[in-house]
């Protein structure tokens, strides 16, 4: 593992206690606001000092309370991309990108020209930050962090201040970063769709403690996490490929061998998109329904039944090799006589998938 974190921090009434590892690729630090995500990141970066514990980056201790090691921020080799970009307003883009080279931080991840090329910054090198769009600012911030020759990268809600259009402009760059640089990346976010789209691993924080960690899609659609974060948000995260834009404004997608029909998604054919489908939006039926307004009817098999303490139940339906989750009442469960292994049909209204839940 390239990052090992095991730290405690007490701040007034707030007690942060975390132990996790991260490796090359994106590890999401996920949780509602106030869960301690920013505190955790500040501790790892060295902007705050833990009360107890250790932080190792590629087997090198950058903090250890017992051995009294505390490497200062500028020596930790952590590349930071902040939500608000934090470009230096008195320097042009080029000077911003080259800032770290003043301190001998020559990039080993790529030469200046390479980073400029992959992030598509040629055209804006001579501009001042005040003349950049939000998406451009984030790309410059990414370039600046990459050029500081970091051992790890911390992205602190890099998309949170961008609107939907700009988000989908920046996401391909984040994916490129993930796939082409051998870097461990900690991605801080409170957006389930973003995290589902970008990360392989997730650490779920709640009130300063780690609630759960593991594979992102499994954790996000797990009942125990949803119970803590709010059952209303319990969702399935799936990937589907766009194969047709029909003239009536419906985009047709291929999902695990079945067809999905959604309101127009503005993206080229063949593109993979991530979808978040809320469990409460999926209805179940035993027989294939006829003459029904819901466009999406997916055949699957019941693989999970979790009874809650209230009147509800969570049902996992396997469609192809994906799992869809739905919430129904226990009364319906009994009336339909659903059992593990039973075949059923899940249907979903096209319009119930919000644009913000589709990440292109």
């Amino acid at each position: 593992m390239s990052i090992n974190v095991n730290i405690d921090k007490i701040m007034g009434n707030f007690y942060l206690k975390t132990k996790f590892d991260a490796d090359i690729g994106i590890t999401a630090i996920f949780g509602p606001s106030g869960a301690g995500k920013s505190t955790l990141v500040n501790l790892i970066a060295g902007l705050m000092k833990p009360n107890k514990g250790y932080i190792k980056i590629f087997n090198e201790l950058v903090f250890d309370s017992e051995q009294k090691i505390n490497v200062p921020v500028n020596k930790r080799g952590i590349g930071f991309v902040f939500q608000d970009a934090r470009l230096f307003p008195h320097m042009k883009v080029e000077a911003n990108l080259k800032y770290s080279s003043r301190f001998g931080r020559r990039g080993q991840l790529g030469a200046f020209s390479e980073i400029v090329e992959v992030l598509n910054l040629e055209g804006i090198l001579n501009r001042l930050p005040e003349n950049l769009s939000g998406g451009e600012k984030q790309r410059v911030a990414m370039g600046r962090a990459l050029l500081s020759n970091p051992k790890i990268l911390i992205l602190d809600e890099p998309l949170a201040s961008l609107d939907e259009g700009l988000k989908s402009e920046v996401i391909p760059y984040l994916e490129f970063l993930r796939d082409n640089f051998n870097l461990p990346i900690l991605y801080i976010s409170h957006s389930q769709s973003e995290v589902a789209r970008l990360s392989d691993k997730i650490v779920v924080l709640e009130k300063g403690s780690i609630l759960e960690q593991g594979k992102t899609l499994e954790i996000l659609s797990s009942f125990s996490v949803a119970k803590k974060l709010g059952l209303r948000d319990l969702s399935s995260f799936i990937e589907a490929t766009v194969y047709n834009h029909a003239p009536d404004g419906i985009t047709e997608l291929d999902f695990a061998g079945s067809k999905l029909f959604l309101p127009m998604i503005d993206t080229p054919l063949g593109r993979k998109v991530s979808l978040r489908i809320l469990a409460k939006d999926i209805t179940l039926a035993i027989d294939k329904p006829q003459k029904i307004s819901a466009l999406n009817i997916l055949k699957g098999e019941v693989v999970e039944i979790i009874l809650g303490s209230g009147p509800g139940a969570v049902i996992g339906i396997k469609v192809g090799n994906h799992k869809l989750i739905t919430r129904i009442t226990q009364r319906s469960l009994n009336a339909m006589d659903l059992k593990l292994g039973k075949t059923c049909f899940a249907f979903l209204k096209s319009v119930s998938v919000a644009t913000s839940d589709i990440i292109v």
Binding site: A45, G79, F82, R86, H90, R144, A145
Partner: protein
């Protein structure tokens, strides 16, 4: 319309005193403004109050304190006289001291506003990119605060040009030696038949202030545009 030697002396002395006053206050004022805006330490409020005292005290009282401390028999004055042979009371350099003390709070206030307008998050970003504290100050904080430094320096210059109460109490009003423009105006007002000279000096000090302000504006805009070109 020829200026009398006394008037010329007063004008040059005022300019000299004001320039030195700003030169001496500049670094300490920058440092104290930075500390007050960025650091949290024990005694911060006390330091803040001490810096502002000359602003609320009657200038005559400030001048009186200076006299007590710096006259040849005063606490500091005796020390300076014995070991360095320097006397500041009734000397033009005393006028510099008085002007510097009186303009110090104004400069600190202007600089502090400047430091407070620089987002500390930018400094954190620089820190994460490898800069140490000193380089952060030099490459991020200072360039962003330069317009405020110029404003503060001009404010200090103007205040020094106009300082009267503490100066006249501390170094008196000796033509050619410690007589600044305001002291000269005061003297002319005391004697009958000097209306013309009074008005002339008033107009001149007005002119000097306007020119100083204009230069500072030009300087500030040039500096910020050069910063942008880099």
């Amino acid at each position: 319309m020829e200026l009398s030697p006394q008037e010329i002396d007063a004008i040059f002395l005022s300019i000299k005193v004001s320039i030195w006053s700003v030169v001496f206050s500049l670094l300490p004022a920058v440092y104290i403004a930075y500390v007050l805006s960025r650091k949290n330490f024990w005694g911060r409020q006390a330091l803040n109050v001490i810096v502002h005292i000359p602003l609320i005290l009657p200038p005559v009282v400030t001048g009186y304190f200076l006299l007590i401390l710096f006259s040849r028999t005063g606490l500091i004055g005796r020390f300076l006289d014995t070991y360095f042979g320097i006397t500041v009371a009734f000397h033009w350099f005393g006028a510099v001291l008085a002007a510097a003390i009186m303009s110090f709070p104004l400069m600190v206030r202007a600089f502090r506003l400047g430091f407070e307008s620089v987002d500390p998050k930018l400094e954190v970003a620089a820190y994460s990119l490898g800069a140490n504290r000193f380089m952060i100050f030099l490459t991020i904080t200072l360039p962003l605060v330069i317009p405020a430094l110029i404003t503060g320096a001009v404010l200090g210059f103007a205040k020094s040009m106009g300082e009267f109460g503490a100066t006249i109490t501390f170094v008196s009003n000796i033509p050619g030696q410690t007589q600044t423009v305001p002291s000269a105006i005061f003297e002319f007002l005391q004697l009958p038949g000097n209306n013309f000279m009074t008005i002339r000096l008033v107009c001149l000090s007005l002119l000097i202030s306007i020119v100083a302000l204009y230069i500072s504006e030009v300087l500030a805009s040039r500096l910020s545009s050069r910063e942008h070109r880099e």
